[in-house]
Amino acid sequence: MADTMELRDIEVWDGNMAASQALRQVQVDVVAAYPITPSTPIVENYANFEANGYVDGEFVMVESEHAAMSGCIGASAAGGRVATATSSQGFALMVETLYSASGMRLPIILNVVNRALGAPLNVNGDHSDMYLGRDSGWIQLNAYNPQHAYDLNFIAFKVAEDHDVRLPAMVHQDGFMTSHTAQGVHTMTDEQGFNFVGEFQPMNDMLDLDHPVTHGVQTEEDWHFEHKARQQHALMTVALPKIQEAFDAFETLTGRRYNLVETHQMDDAEMAVICMGTSVETAMEVVNELRAQGVKAGVVGIRVFRPWPLEQLAEVLKNVKAIGALDRSSPHGTVGMLYNEIAGTLFNTDAKPVLTNYIYGLGGRDLTKAHLVGIFNDLKANMDAGKPTTALQQYIGLRGPKLSFF
């Protein structure tokens, strides 16, 4: 039996420690991992827990991120609770196996500490790796601070391991800005944390020696489509309500409320920015200041990135006249992903806001309050004009000549 760790009600943890503690409290059976900045401390912390008797599963330090996820897949198919962590280049190396994990319906939890993708090589936070994973069939939950990184891990395990879902889940946090920034984190006791997720319930487990199973089959044009369609069906129709259920149960337990779409001052907002990660909290501060000046501004934070909460977002945005979609990843050749998703979300609705796109924060560049004030000024002008007054896509915080497209 693993030792219990006595935690204070509020611990000062960075996002990495928050994730590590969640993995410890749910008593993961196998962690197969490979270190990479800035997610390395998640694995180091876990190694320390193991070295001091706080976890009693298997901790396997493999030789690459691809092997980490490969080992996780083998372990998960064998029938137990499995998790790992990665970032950036390591995430990119894992991509092949991410599709295997979701296609094989294995409830693995992956903490992704978001970081830019080279070249040029960069260790700081942007959302390029998160975007790279968005078609991989995983549930993707988005943390804005260390508290979220802690809480969303429990949510992720509870949803992913549900036998009606059986899909892997990522918990995203911003590299360094969340992962290395210590904040007060409200904790659960080990017992509370474990019980929220519960004992792992195996299904189609290879280690049930009386019931052999074949995992990872070949399907061609005769069955491949049906497999992918059923996976999508589960993600679209089952996962979202289960995530909501888990959010509700979590609120009952802890008093902390999470929503499929997070909103700030959106009830009567005329204009809004939509973003993810730490930027949501910066935008909230700016909106508070603008509200003091009588500006009806709001913030929409993407909490559940995949499956995309299309209906909930459309509802939140139905009365908004101008929207800025803020993408922390270079789309390379088109508009930003959030711009595209929001446009698609609203296209068949009565809402016809002016929608513009801002690329910001690549490679860990700060998004300042002044930047956000500038964006809201654009949105105000767009709202008043009833059409874009700027290019559809602008680069924010970039040195040198202004860069914009479309």
């Binding site: 059976d29 196998v30 197969a32 599963g57 490969s70 083998g74 029938g79 137990g80 499995v82 089959v217």
Partner: protein, 319 residues
């Protein structure tokens, strides 16, 4: 609980013992893969947890909604069959520690199969990682010296002079230019408790080695010659005969290395046949039999002689 070593009296008993690999599969008639897999699986009565890398064995045995496997089996990709089974082995250890195994009295064996492409080339790092970490598993390379599943491209196991689709023989080329990688030496250098070359045609030798491998604690590497009727270009009924030519010409010597150091030759042909006879029996070497390339056959014979000499010296020196 220590598992008992299965006693096998004769080939008839061996070939008719309970199959966990069904004859219903899509492998080519005359494919040695199925013979090797049966010989591995039939060597034990213990429960098995199996993995396969992408390749002939995988695409021919688990085509939804069918499976040829009556033991738990997993496939992820081309490079990671080793790590798939290592992950399952890690879960076994975790659940054992935590008292959550469904059949706690049974100790399954963990076996990964991969072709030479998956072993010598794309999966090399994953296998090395598994062996360095010391998982309790057996890795069996079905070595047919070519990417057979995709139509005969060269791998780093393809022998010099062989015509492969990406190293074809032509008016200015004799085919593959590089010597086959010595995987046995590399895997033994990991300090693995047991590393062996086997041939499905020498079934007693093979069963003894598989059973030794299963009895060992830690990662075991088995390199099995898998004569490929399609890519080596011989008649499907000649699989065993070609395999015998490989072992009896010493092109594919049968030996084992224990704990990375103790080398034992396990099969000494009564009549060593010329390498020329082995090459001449296969279409992939047909172009070598011209005056122009005669020297290549002589060089090959010299390499085989030197390797055999080296193996014998190592066996004598016990190093």
């Amino acid at each position: 609980m220590m598992s008992e070593i299965k006693k096998i009296k004769n080939l008839k008993e061996f070939s008719t013992s309970a199959d966990r690999f069904e004859g219903a599969n899509l492998l080519c008639p005359g494919c040695a893969h199925s013979i090797i897999v049966r010989e591995v699986l039939n060597a034990t009565n213990d429960d098995l947890i199996l993995a396969a890398s992408t390749g002939c064995l995988e695409v021919c045995t688990a085509v939804y909604p069918y499976t040829s496997w009556d033991a738990s089996w997993i496939h992820i990709g081309f490079e990671n069959g080793s790590t798939a089974v290592a992950g399952a082995e890690a879960m076994y250890k975790a659940l054992k520690k935590k008292g959550r195994l469904k059949q706690p009295d049974r100790v399954p064996k963990f076996v990964a199969f991969g072709g030479d492409g998956a072993t010598y080339d794309i999966g090399f790092q994953w296998i090395s990682g598994c062996f360095e970490r010391g998982h309790n598993m057996m890795y069996v390379c079905l070595d047919n010296e070519v990417y057979a599943n995709t139509g005969g491209q060269r791998s780093s196991s393809t022998p010099i002079g062989s015509s492969a689709t990406t190293s074809p023989a032509g008016s200015t080329s004799y085919g593959e230019k590089k010597n086959k990688k010595d995987m046995m030496a590399i895997m033994a250098a990991h300090g693995a408790p047991y590393v062996a070359q086997v041939s499905p045609s020498k079934w007693k030798d093979m069963v003894a080695k598989i059973q030794k491998g299963f009895a060992a604690e830690g990662p075991v590497f088995i390199n099995a010659i898998s004569a490929c009727t399609t890519e080596w270009k011989f008649a499907p009924e000649d699989t065993i005969a070609i395999t015998d030519l490989a072992t009896d010409s010493l092109v594919f010597p049968l030996y084992e290395i224990i704990n990375g150091t103790e080398l034992n030759i396990t099969y000494r042909p009564k009549n060593i046949i010329p390498v020329r006879d082995y090459l001449g029996a296969q279409g992939r070497f047909k172009h070598l039999f011209t005056k122009q390339y005669d020297y290549l056959i002589d060089e090959w014979q010299a390499r085989v002689d030197a390797k055999w000499e080296q193996l014998q010296r190592r066996e004598e020196a016990r190093v």
